[in-house]
């Protein structure tokens, strides 16, 4: 079996008002064989100059253009041919081009994910595969989540469970779909009183809404499986949460929804390991309590047989 691998999905950089940045690799439809390790370094940058306050568009000249950059080292390893482990630790930097509020930078969330191949079946001139994934992430520094939009992340643990299905023609094109449930815990603010959804809360704990994530991807292998290109549509919907109040600051309790289109390409210099390059572009097309972001990503990967 060829070592077709991939560790960073286009979803890596879901950046904006709320970061849902890590543990997204689990979404792709590829497995690393036993003993293979892949190291990746990914850089993403997204920016916005408008945001959705609730579902209406707001421009705030005291923010100007908001930019979020992320550098993320990542390791993917094949425990068995059918079970992979993925580790990630992003470094995030935020800033605004206008206004007086200072940006922040630092280590965001540590991500750990297990992906299992559950189904592999030849059908017609192609192959159907099914995966399941379990991911966990937790803040890896004491960054303040209650400093949005600048905060590095939402500051809570997240457990994700996913189902992924893929049908790939032997000639190269494939269709992939996935559905995820993201269960988030509470984050700790540095104030013990806040207002959310018509209620005053007398606690520093803020409930970060859970979310569903759906994704459909059309992709294809090209040039003897040295190049892979994909186009995706992703939708995230929070299951609860409140809207940003009029001309007010966002906060971790907000209901964050968005739909996003992405383009993605990965080039492998060799077909059985070694270096690879990733390039991606993403853009939000609709949303709620979220920056109207667009941005790109670049990555370099290196794969080798470890055991």
């Amino acid at each position: 079996m060829k070592n077709y691998f991939r560790f960073l999905s286009l979803l890596c950089a879901s950046l904006g008002l709320l970061s849902i940045a890590n543990a997204q690799t689990p979404l792709d439809g590829l497995m690393m064989p036993k003993g293979e390790i892949c190291i990746a370094l990914q850089y993403d940058q997204v920016s916005w100059d408008r945001y959705w306050e609730g579902s209406t568009t707001r421009v705030n000249q005291n923010i100007g253009t908001f930019t979020k950059q992320m550098g993320m080292p990542m390791i993917v390893g094949g425990i068995t041919d059918k079970l992979n482990v993925i580790l990630s630790l992003p470094y995030v930097k935020t800033e605004a081009s206008a206004g007086q509020l200072t940006g922040v930078q630092g280590i965001q969330d540590f991500g750990l994910s297990l992906k299992a191949l559950l189904l592999e079946k030849s059908i017609g001139k192609g192959k159907l595969t099914g995966f399941s994934n379990l991911s966990f992430s937790m803040p890896a520094s004491n960054y303040l989540s209650d400093y949005m939009p600048f905060s590095l992340g939402f500051g809570a643990n997240e457990l994700g469970i996913r189902a992924i299905g893929k049908y790939e023609l032997d000639k190269g094109p494939y269709l992939r779909a996935s559905y995820s449930y993201l269960h988030r815990g509470v984050t700790e603010a540095e104030r013990d009183f806040y207002y959310a959804g018509q209620n005053a809360y007398y606690t520093a704990k803020m409930d970060v809404p859970n979310a569903f994530l759906g994704q459909v991807t059309l992709g294809s292998w090209m040039f003897k499986k040295k190049l892979r290109v994909e186009a995706s549509l992703t939708a995230i919907k929070s299951t609860s949460g409140d809207d940003i109040r009029v001309y007010s600051m966002p906060q971790p309790t907000n209901k964050v929804d968005f739909d996003r289109v992405e383009g993605f390409a990965q080039y492998y210099f060799k077909t059985n390991g070694g270096f690879g390059l990733i390039a991606s572009y993403q853009k939000a097309i609709s949303g709620r309590n979220m920056g109207q972001f667009s941005g790109y990503g670049l990555g370099i990967t290196y794969q080798f047989k470890a055991f």
Partner: protein, 513 residues
């Protein structure tokens, strides 16, 4: 082997989901009715704030025990208690036997709800809330710190005067509570033995409803529903009969009227000025001192927040000059440069604890503001000390009079000195807190907190040092946050303490603290 892997995955997954259910987060202060530490039998003689006599609002003599009239009321109350729905019982436990605390909490929640700064119009101008058309954006009121401090003072003073009168009549008529008159009626709270005519709960419900309705006109229905629920709970709880409640309502409505009459002429409606007036205030400072504060937002807010709040009628401080500090150091002077250097150092090396302090005390937009923060402390202190309702009202009245007086004095200094904020004087300076739309000197947080801490120290001397530490922390929080100089904080604390001293002097006349 494969099967084994997947079952581990599933197990971990369910274990996590099962253990991570989010707890219910508190939306109110959790406390229950309690045994009062004492009943203050002489509270009817305490000095009223807005009224001249404790019989200024006449009450009918209540029906005597054993009278047909009272027996009928007792029978009705008993029936209400027996037929109480679960919602009514829930209300009884929510309101407690010191319901002023709940009304104060509701006031803070409304202050928070309405504490949103107007967004710019498309042409770059800013709209202003219109009390004559409160539902038009931006909704009236914009419950900023000066507005909230004033609102809390009227609420607390009306409650206090009403309860002093209620206490006077309670001990004049000495009518026993329904649970004492009829053994089949059970008190939902501790049997405090407090006389029940007039109902102190009804005084508080009615006065609070009326004051808050005037302060937050769009909440009229919400407040009426709250008051209705509260009044009904007094009967269900087994502590009042209908005539107790009616007498309480009479007092509550009248004290609110007196308080609102004062409010309507206290100068608040002129506090937010026109551009022309605002510019003339700024130019006066420029001529006098050589500097002037300018709002740094885009688009610029050309009028600061309530430039004439300084003209609002004071409660205990004789005039704003009595607590006006000397001038701040001129920008560019050695003292100023020292302070600016310190701000840059904080910005570059803020410790975790300093950041926590800055955020804990931020109390900015979309919060209950620093006056609200101190009211919350007072509420917790009242419960910890098991104060009775009139003693509770006393704490809040003097606290909130001192706080608003400090605020009025602070706003006088702000616009008299018109001192620029750090983001205006220090090139390229960035902060972790939003800089408010008014001049720097003196710090509002420091002034409000200096006043509040002293009043709290007077009423709760055992915790005096804790309150003063909090005030100093609140003052420093603005320096850590990069929006005030050290000298703003220092002068603000002093100013607040001075404002409090006038309130405390008056409180001492009763000789009961």
């Amino acid at each position: 082997m494969k099967k084994y892997n997947y079952s581990i995955l599933l197990l971990v997954m369910f274990a996590f989901l099962g253990s991570s259910c989010v707890e219910d987060l508190p939306t109110k202060y959790e406390f229950t009715g309690y045994q009062f530490s004492n009943l203050d039998a002489n509270a009817g003689q305490w000095k009223l704030v807005l009224h001249t006599s404790n019989e200024q609002i006449p009450l009918p003599t209540p029906a005597a025990p054993g009278s047909a009239e009272l027996l009928k009321e007792l029978a009705d109350a008993k029936e209400m208690q027996n037929k109480a729905t679960s919602a009514q019982l829930e209300a009884v436990s929510y309101w407690t036997n010191n319901p002023l605390l709940r009304w104060n909490e509701i006031a803070l929640e409304l202050a928070t709800k309405y504490n949103l700064i107007p967004a710019p119009n498309p042409d770059g101008s800013y709209p202003v809330p219109d009390p004559a058309n409160p539902s038009k954006y931006p909704k009236f009121p914009y419950s900023h710190p000066p507005y909230t401090s004033r609102m809390l003072a009227y609420l607390s003073v009306a409650q206090y005067d009403g309860l002093i009168m209620a206490w006077h009549y309670k001990y004049k008529f000495k009518r026993q509570a329904s649970y004492q008159l009829d053994p089949q009626i059970k008190s939902a709270y501790e049997n405090n033995g407090l006389f029940s005519y007039p109902s102190d709960g009804a005084v508080v419900a009615t006065a609070s409803r009326d004051i808050l309705t005037a302060m937050f006109p769009l909440e009229k229905e919400f407040l009426a529903q709250k008051a209705q629920e509260h009044l009904e709970s007094l009967l269900v709880a087994g502590i009042n009969v209908a005539s107790d409640v009616n007498a309480g309502k009479l007092i509550g409505a009248e004290v609110a009227k007196t308080a609102l009459a004062r409010a309507s002429t206290d100068g608040m409606k002129n506090a937010q000025t026109t551009r022309v007036k605002s510019d003339s205030i700024k130019n006066a400072a420029k001529i006098r001192f050589g500097w002037a504060w300018e709002n740094q937002e885009t688009p610029q807010r050309t009028v600061g927040l309530v430039p004439l709040f300084s003209k609002v009628r004071l409660w205990n401080v004789p005039n704003v000059e009595a607590i006006r500090p000397g001038p701040p150091p001129a920008p560019g002077s050695p003292v100023f440069e020292e302070s600016a250097k310190e701000l840059k150092q904080y910005a570059n090396n803020l410790t975790t604890n300093q950041r926590r302090i800055a955020n804990f005390w931020n109390d900015g937009l979309n919060t209950y503001t620093p006056p609200g923060h101190w009211n919350r402390f007072a509420k917790e202190e009242v419960v910890a000390n098991k104060l009775n309702p009139v003693r509770t009202a006393r704490v809040f009245a003097y606290l909130n009079m001192a706080i608003v007086d400090a605020g009025i004095g602070c706003w006088d200094a702000k616009y008299y000195y018109h001192y620029p904020r750090p983001i205006q004087t220090i090139p390229g300076f960035k902060t972790i807190l939003g800089t408010p739309n008014f001049p720097a000197y003196t710090s509002g947080h420091a002034s409000f907190s200096g006043a509040a801490a002293e009043v709290m120290a007077h009423f709760f001397p055992a915790n005096a040092s804790q309150f003063r530490t909090w005030a100093e922390e609140a003052a420093m929080s603005r320096v850590y946050g990069g929006i005030h100089y050290q000298f703003d904080a220092d002068a603000g604390l002093t100013q607040g303490r001075q404002a409090a001293s006038f309130a405390i002097t008056k409180a001492k006349l009763d000789g009961v603290d």
